[in-house]
């Protein structure tokens, strides 16, 4: 593929940012093992597991950045509260970040940039989300009445504020994951994209099948022994179905796209269920890692966030990574062939497939991505090799941390095996037509072995 000229930053940054390791709790199905756990409980557990793995008790980390998509208003300082409840030094600063499903990956890129600038030497990036302990808000009517009453100066005015209430206003407002501007759920949006790209049911089921089997195999091989810490009795991702089959996936009824004029192909099996969980990734400069006798797995090379105009149907809601990746690759002088591992978040099986199809489409890449032609093909043998969200589940903000820690370990192992740099491309699509991509490379062996 013809490349645009690499546009490397002209000013070298003071240092590189490295991924040293990660930790997450197993992801639980909605209403499952973590039904009584809050975002704070889960992220604190993920942090404490990370602290335990790397001996960071009492350590003052440069910054902890994480977030949650479905968040209680009382959790305005969620991450800082988690830090205070963890074994980290209470002098560790923190802030909340939220970019829907891309929260975790955006947090990784953000703290990496601070490390690269020398503003901090160490960081933890992550995220947490619970669908089981989701916030319930009062209705707009009751909210207005309460606000008006609180502003009222007299009893009469206060009563008048409540007199405006209608019976329906007393019903609570449950959180919606529908896109505010379209009223369509993410699945319905993706169903349209799926239909436009003519992705088949069979291809989607195959992606789901691979995800479950790859994740199960990785667990069996002990790959997650130093990436996952059990929580509340759950030792593996609750959604994982090691014994699923294409036949069984084929029996599931479609759940999205049923009102379209095209056949519905998206089922509960090839769509990622709502899940509870939390993740955390430890990053640092090489000097910091060495001073703390910590391994250096991978370098955060670069990141790119894209957004697409999905509101009026011009582009699919979850297609932003399709736009982010060519920009990211181009800036770094890379092609798809230079990538050893592709970690494409499986919001839906068809999200992955539409992404791949789009990159292979000459016309689309020219008109929509501004390329000279198709970006290229992704070698499926390098795609989500240890499973992804379809099997693990997807607690929105926690997914980025899951993927980054997994990927860092993957490239480190590949480099150790082959003796040459291994490179991975990570992409996460998100609500709001957002998408984040990052390049992660194995760290050179210097400093990573004794």
């Amino acid at each position: 593929m013809p490349q645009t000229a690499p546009a490397h930053p002209t000013t070298p940054l003071p240092q590189d940012a490295y991924i040293l390791g990660g930790n997450r709790i197993p992801f639980a199905r909605a209403g499952g093992k973590y039904a009584s756990a809050s975002n704070q409980d889960m992220l604190t557990a993920a942090l404490d597991g990370l602290v335990a793995r790397f001996g960071l008790q009492g350590e003052r980390i440069g910054e902890v950045v994480a977030g949650s998509v479905l968040k209680h208003s009382r959790d305005f300082n969620l991450v800082r509260e988690c830090v205070l409840g963890s074994a980290l030094s209470p002098q560790t600063p923190a802030y909340d970040l939220q970019q829907a499903c891309a929260t975790g990956l955006e947090a990784v890129i953000g703290v990496s940039n601070k490390i690269r600038l020398g503003q901090i030497e160490s960081a933890i990036a992550g995220g947490t989300d619970t669908i089981s302990d989701a916030p319930i808000a009062v209705s707009e009517g009751l909210r207005h009445a309460l606000l008006n009453a609180s502003r009222a100066k007299t009893v009469g005015a206060r009563l008048k504020a409540f007199a405006a209430l209608r019976p329906a206003d007393v019903a609570p407002a449950t959180p919606s994951t529908d896109e505010p501007r379209t009223g369509l759920s993410m699945g319905e949006h993706q169903a349209i994209t799926t239909a436009r790209w003519r992705i088949t049911r069979e291809a989607q089921d195959q992606v789901a099948y691979d995800s479950h089997h790859n994740l199960a195999a990785a667990y069996e091989a002990g790959f997650f022994d130093d990436l996952v810490t059990p929580f509340k009795g759950l030792t593996r991702d609750q959604n994982l179905r090691a014994d699923t089959s294409l036949e069984r996936l084929g029996t599931l009824k479609p759940v999205f796209g049923k009102s379209l004029e095209t056949p519905a192909t998206m089922t509960a099996g090839n769509s990622t269920p709502l899940t509870d969980g939390a993740s955390a990734v430890l990053l640092g400069s090489r000097e910091w890692a060495q001073a703390h006798d910590l391994p250096v797995l991978a370098r955060v090379v670069d990141g790119e966030t894209a957004a697409v105009d999905y509101v009026h149907g011009h582009e699919g809601l979850l297609m932003a990574p399709v736009h982010a990746v060519p920009r990211l690759l181009g800036r770094n002088g890379l092609t798809l062939d230079d990538i050893d591992f592709f970690e494409i978040h499986e919001a839906f099986a068809s999200t992955v497939l539409t992404t791949l199809a789009a990159w292979e489409d000459d016309d689309y890449c020219r008109t929509e991505l501004g390329l000279d032609g198709a970006l290229g093909s992704v070698d499926r043998a390098r795609l989500n090799v240890h499973g992804s969200s379809l099997a693990a589940g997807h607690p929105f903000a926690a997914t980025g941390g899951r993927i980054v820690a997994t990927t860092a370990k993957l490239v480190a192992a590949k480099a150790a095996e082959t003796g040459r740099t291994a490179r991975a491309l990570v992409s996460v699509c998100a609500a709001g037509g957002l998408g984040v991509a990052a390049i992660i490379e194995s760290a050179d062996t210097e400093g990573s072995t004794k």
Binding site: A45, D48, G49, V51, A52, R53, F54, G55, Q57, G58, A87, G222, F224, D225, D226, V228, T229, P230, F231, K232, T235, D293, L294, P295, T449, K450
Partner: protein, 451 residues
């Protein structure tokens, strides 16, 4: 894990009632708190003639060097003795026992709570003159009987000096100190053999493991967690290891002892290498490995399926053997290394329904006996600790009546605490225990079973 009975019979009203009824009244044992005195009163050293420069005097001098109030006679009858050390190394005929033992008997009623009786003797060997062998073996009988006679949380144990080991050997000091201290609270009626001059006195007896890196398997809960905590208290950096499924508890332990957690199934073929790698990378070395991880899968042998047998052997002994091989082959494990393995009184005495477990735990006893010598050339040791009835989550699931009987079936009339096992492990791991190698020490309160 609460022993309600012990607290009841020691309480005011219920306590006096229990006394009148003649119920067994287990004492609250003296346990180690940093900074507390080694013993709770003056120490009487018996044996030999005073002032002749014999072994008893040498022991007395050692104790004086620890700032203890040491007496050579029981003349002061107002004393509540903190300990009595009976040095019998120079006895040559059973007649020689008479004087020191009578003196010991005269003070048994005036021991302080949590007092210690420690004999120092030499082993009876086939090559000894019969009278010499008789007196030396006789010490065993005295010690084990006296231990059963003691009350008030007092214990009786012996140090046995093998070969050319003198009473001034480092590990004789180490053993004496351990047996006098509160660290040996649940060790009772046991003889601990010092077989060489190896070992070194720690710079600080309160932190004997300072600068050492330890790995404890099965550290997520119970005895393993107590071992990790105790080793950390004694100054070690502790890598805590447990199966990935126990990771949540393991992380809590790691954070409590301010160290690192390694989720690892010890039955994986390269477990030893991964342990070494982790300890070296994160902590710069590896000095102490505590094989604590173990499982029980109880079944009468007549009903036992092969996989049940195999799983217990695989976890409890085969994994230890494989890890030890990797440790012995590693350059990282050569600075006075220590292997401490968890055996069990079931392995020594046998237990109905535990043939698989007993095989593995007796196997541990044999394993350390043979592994110790392999480590000796680099100043290392391998020893085992055999716990008796210890109050843990596991034993709390034993039915109440069975549990009560098991608890009272020893000289201290109670179950031990995980920390009691941990203290003994920590002692074996310490530099001062370098001359104790290949042994198994019971931590059982002198359990009647298999005694």
């Amino acid at each position: 894990m609460t022993d309600t009975y012990t607290s009841l019979v020691n309480g005011g009203l219920t306590g006096s009632l229990a006394k009148k009824l003649g119920l067994p009244r287990p004492s609250v044992l003296r346990r180690h708190t940093p900074g507390a005195p080694l013993v709770t009163g003056p120490v009487l050293v018996l044996g030999g003639a005073v002032g002749t420069g014999d072994d008893a005097d040498a022991v007395a001098r050692t104790l004086l060097g620890w700032d203890l109030d040491v007496r050579r006679t029981a003349a002061d009858d107002t004393a509540r003795w903190g300990a009595v050390v009976v040095v019998l190394t120079e006895a040559t005929h059973p007649d020689d026992l008479s004087d020191p033992v009578r003196e010991l008997g005269s003070v048994l009623r005036s021991l302080a709570p949590g007092a210690r009786v420690v004999t120092v003797s030499r082993p009876a060997l086939a090559t000894d003159a019969p009278a010499l062998a008789a007196v030396r073996q006789g010490v065993d009988g005295i010690l084990r009987s006296v231990a059963k006679e003691l009350r008030g949380g007092a214990t009786g144990n012996g140090v046995v000096l093998a070969g050319d080991v003198t009473v001034d050997a480092t590990s004789v000091h180490g053993a004496l100190r351990f047996l006098l201290s509160a660290r040996s609270a649940f060790v009772d009626g046991q003889l601990l053999t010092v077989s060489s001059d190896a070992g070194s006195a720690p710079a600080d007896w309160e932190r004997p493991l300072a600068g050492r890196v330890a790995v404890v398997t099965g550290a997520a809960r119970g005895i393993g967690a107590a071992i990790a905590t105790t080793l950390a208290r004694d100054g070690a950096r502790v890598v805590v290891v447990d199966v990935p499924a126990a990771g949540e508890q393991l992380a809590k332990v790691a954070n409590a002892v301010k160290s690192t957690a390694l989720q690892l199934d010890i039955t994986t073929p390269d477990a030893g290498t991964r342990i070494i790698d982790h300890a070296v990378r994160r902590h710069g070395g590896l000095d102490i490995v505590v094989h604590n991880a173990g499982i029980t899968r109880d079944k009468l042998l007549a009903n036992m399926k092969p996989e049940v047998w195999d799983s217990v052997i695989a976890v409890n002994i085969a994994s230890q053997l494989r890890i030890n091989e990797q440790l012995l082959a590693s350059d990282a494990f050569r600075d006075a290394p220590r292997i401490v393995s968890l055996a069990s009184t079931s392995g020594i005495a046998g237990n109905r329904g535990q043939s698989n477990y007993a095989a593995s735990k007796a196997g541990v006893v044999g394993m350390v006996r043979a592994t110790g010598p392999l480590l000796a050339e680099v100043g290392g040791t391998a020893n085992a600790v055999a716990p008796g009835f210890i109050e843990t989550d596991m034993t709390s699931r034993i039915p109440f009546a069975t549990r009560e009987v098991a608890r009272r079936l020893n000289s201290l009339q109670q179950g031990g605490q995980p920390v009691d096992v941990a203290e003994t492990v920590a002692f074996f791991a310490s530099p001062a225990a370098g001359g104790i190698n290949g042994t198994t020490l019971r931590v059982c309160g002198q359990n009647l079973v298999g005694a």
